[in-house]
């Protein structure tokens, strides 16, 4: 909008001057043709590739850039409930139980890509083949980042000109999150076909996967369409798609600007260069600056990731469950929560379940019954003394020998983890355990080599939790970095993955979490809060959605320019 002001030329500066004094925008009328409404939104990191199914493209930033360009089957609302995209899907798909589980989509007959080609079964088939992990459908894993759901699908078939799509799972397969198929957006298969790729061959499929990764889509199946060439590390300009089959958006133009320098956000906001953001990173300073601004609305809520401390159970020392329980009991998670995020987000609470936040309908407190996370040094010492440890002066001893110092690690430069590490260090000192803080620059490598005694890091939470327990704790999982092994847990996490409904899955997940808590393998600490902000003198109707990677952009079509 600042831009428009400039375009009116020098004469307009005088006019806007008056308005700018009251930190106000020039009046906007979203409905009138010549006064185009435009919003510039900060994205805090560049994207890596245009195919959200590929590893480089699988970031929240890319999903934000593709949002409302690629058609989706449905989405998670802010409460974490699934909603179907009624613009695209005309029916309410339901599971058809039988020999093999299946379900059916009826696509809106008017739903076309912006070039006039219909959105149909081919696009669904492409999405399945892309992530199937089957070399006969797409070569060498298709450069997919992997998806459990698509790997369980046996077929995706179209009928009635491809406007009815039936998805059938393999024999005996079931998946609690079956409805999430196509949640991040469907690619226009016909565009790849027009480029000469034969999508029925594994080679052609693979070629199309790389094609969609290297090039932004030129057509749109959603309410917006790219203008010019969008840049993953620069600027993405989306304008209203005139061919859209649903309702037209309220804002004509949405510009996403990659901006990696937090310090520049609020100055740019007050200067009218940007109108808002829902960054993936937390910053006390940005929030402090926002608090001082007029005409700015911002909100904070528990976000999409959570911090935890893992113990390396492969080490001789920490293979002792009693010592682990003692350590976790001595850590005061409530104090950590307050000191990390409490100042700007006083409602913050420690996390008490590995899989579900307190806001989730499936949440059960698995931690409080164990006494872990209370920071009760006496209780911790009692536990330890029962197991044969003894506090001698400032140092915890076992059989007369001091417990060796533990290596506590986290990613260098991560502000919250720095605080967590220092507080854990202080908590452990109270039970006579020395924790030596060592930062790492290579979290992945350090985890993979299990090069730590205690490690502080984060996992992301999404409403489709079904695979997470398996990933965290299954003895065969590559992400079970601390080397936890428990047959009962293995069975439960398999069950969480292999069930037909979210409820069923959640039950198994909670049981597994209870066992893991008793074994003191992972201590959940706190949900990382996330914030969003926007200029209320430019736009209204903005709300955050922590259940989606798209965050506050999730219902951007509902935004309106302020009169």
């Amino acid at each position: 909008m600042q831009i428009r002001k400039k375009m009116l030329g020098a004469a307009a500066i005088g006019v806007s001057a008056v308005l700018a004094v009251s930190a106000c925008s020039p009046p906007q009328d979203g409905s009138s043709g010549d006064a185009e409404s435009s919003v510039t939104w900060i994205v805090n990191q560049p994207g890596g590739g245009w195919n959200h199914n590929a590893p480089e493209g699988g970031s929240v930033y890319v999903i934000q850039m593709l949002h409302d360009i690629l058609p989706v089957t449905g989405f998670w609302n802010p409460e974490g409930q699934w909603e179907w995209n009624t613009d695209l899907i005309a029916n309410t798909p339901e599971l058809i139980e039988g020999d093999q589980v299946s379900w059916e989509y009826q696509i809106n007959p008017d739903a076309n890509w912006s070039d006039g080609e219909p959105i149909d079964a081919d696009d669904f088939v492409w999405q399945w083949k892309m992530n199937s992990g089957d070399g006969e459908l797409c070569s060498d894993g298709c450069n997919s980042r992997g998806s459990t759901l698509e790997s369980l699908i046996e077929s995706v078939e179209g009928s009635e000109d491809g406007k009815t799509v039936t998805v059938t799972l393999k024999e005996d397969a079931q998946f609690p999150g079956w409805f999430t198929f196509g949640v991040d957006g469907l690619y226009p298969a016909h565009v790849a076909a027009a480029e000469g790729m034969d999508l029925d061959t594994p080679e052609g499929m693979r070629e199309s996967s790389d094609f969609f990764n290297a090039n932004p889509v030129t057509v749109s199946g959603g309410p917006y369409i790219y203008e010019g060439t969008p840049a993953l590390d620069g600027r993405v300009v989306k304008v209203a798609n005139e061919e859209y089959y649903g309702e037209a958006p309220g804002i004509q133009e949405i510009i996403l600007e990659v901006n990696t320098e937090e310090g520049s956000w609020v100055p740019a906001l007050t200067n009218g260069e940007v109108q808002g953001s829902s960054p993936a990173t937390w910053s006390d300073d940005v929030i402090t600056q926002l608090e001082g601004q007029e005409n700015v609305d911002f909100g904070i809520a528990s976000g999409g990731s959570w911090e935890h401390v893992d113990l390396n159970v492969q080490s001789d020392l920490l293979s002792d469950t009693a010592l682990r329980q003692g350590i976790f009991t001595a850590i005061d998670t409530a104090n950590i929560a307050t000191r990390t995020y409490g100042e700007k987000f006083p409602e913050i609470e420690p996390r008490t379940n590995h899989v579900f936040s307190t806001t989730s309908e499936f949440h059960e407190d698995v931690l409080t019954p164990t006494g872990q996370g209370t920071g009760d040094a006496e209780a911790a010492l009692e536990l330890l003394e029962e197991a044969g440890y003894e506090l001698n002066g400032d140092s915890l001893e076992s059989d007369g020998e001091a417990v060796p110092a533990l290596r506590l690690r986290y990613t260098a430069g991560h502000v919250a983890r720095e605080i967590i590490a220092e507080l854990i260090q202080a908590d452990l000192a109270e039970i006579g355990i020395t924790a030596e803080i060592e930062t790492t620059d290579d979290l992945g490598g350090t985890l993979a080599e299990a090069d730590y005694d205690l490690m502080i890091y984060g996992w992301s939470t999404t409403p489709d939790f079904y695979g997470s327990p398996h990933q965290y704790w299954h003895s065969e999982s590559g992400s079970n970095f601390g080397g936890y092994e428990n047959d009962e847990v293995d069975e439960l996490v398999d069950a969480a993955l292999n069930s037909s409904s979210p409820e069923e899955s959640a039950e198994a997940a909670n049981e597994a979490a209870t066992l893991v808590a008793e074994d003191a393998y992972v201590l959940p600490i706190v949900d990382t809060p996330a914030y969003f902000f926007y200029d209320t003198s430019f736009i209204e109707g903005v709300s955050d959605n922590h259940a989606q990677s798209r965050r506050a952009l999730w219902d951007q079509t509902e935004w309106a320019a302020v009169e």
Binding site: G263, T288, E291, E418, I419, E422, E438, T439, D441
Partner: protein
Amino acid sequence: MSEMQSRIAMDDGSSDGPAAPVNRGGDLTQVQLIWRRFRRHRAAMASLVLLGLIVAFAFLGPLVWQWGHTVDSNIPSNAGPSLEHPFGTTKQGNDVFAQTMRGAQQSLKVALTVAVVSTVVGATWGAVAGYYRGRTDAIMMRIADIFLIIPLIVAVASINGAVRGGTTWYAVALIMCLFSWATVARVVRGVVLSLREQEFIEAARAAGARATRIIFRHLLPNAAGPIIVAATLLIAVAVLTEAGLSFIGFGIQPPDISLGKMVEGARTAAFTRPWLFYPPGVLIVLICLTINFIGDGLRDALDPRQTMVRR
């Protein structure tokens, strides 16, 4: 790095005349003479006193101050300035006053190490190259060029990852040394090239003095002027470079702290929490400012020709 180069070169430009040959028997009077001339430079003298105070603040302050620079659970979170905490506190519960002292100490340690090590290495390298000339000179200076071409941040960023458990002050200092000695070498070589043609060197050579003796007893002492000034300015440049590295995330890592790290952390707090923004920044400015003035004073004092102009 190249910034370093140009800043030191700046000094080089104004002191291109080598100092008069040192009379070894009269060292004392020479030093006294320089000191007398230096004292006359009022800004430099004032700077020397101020810098002395800053150094005392950084190194002696932590011994007497009631708080340490690390997190203390008795310290309230995010408090404003008070008698108890003159610069307020951080979110974690650090006393910012204690952090400022510690930060100044670490920054100064980095800067002094960089200045001393790269001056010693650079001066020797440059003197040897300048003394031998010819092929030796060419090879040695091309090696120096390699380090002049590589940007410091590439070096620090890469080695950062290889250093286990984060980056300590001496790791940062040593990496900065690796990429700053070459500048000194270049300056010294230039001076030595002109010195070696002078009579007293030829006399020494004629008397059968060995190369090492000529380099260390005759050439380097006589190039002391430009070397000392270059070393002084290196301190200021190193403080700023460390701050720049912190800004892009490659400086000293927590729980340790430096002035650069503090300024970087508080760069958005200018209006919201000025007590976090200004103290470390002003301290950096003061350190660099005083050092630049001292360098200026030294240059005047060491270069008799300049002083004559003044009269």
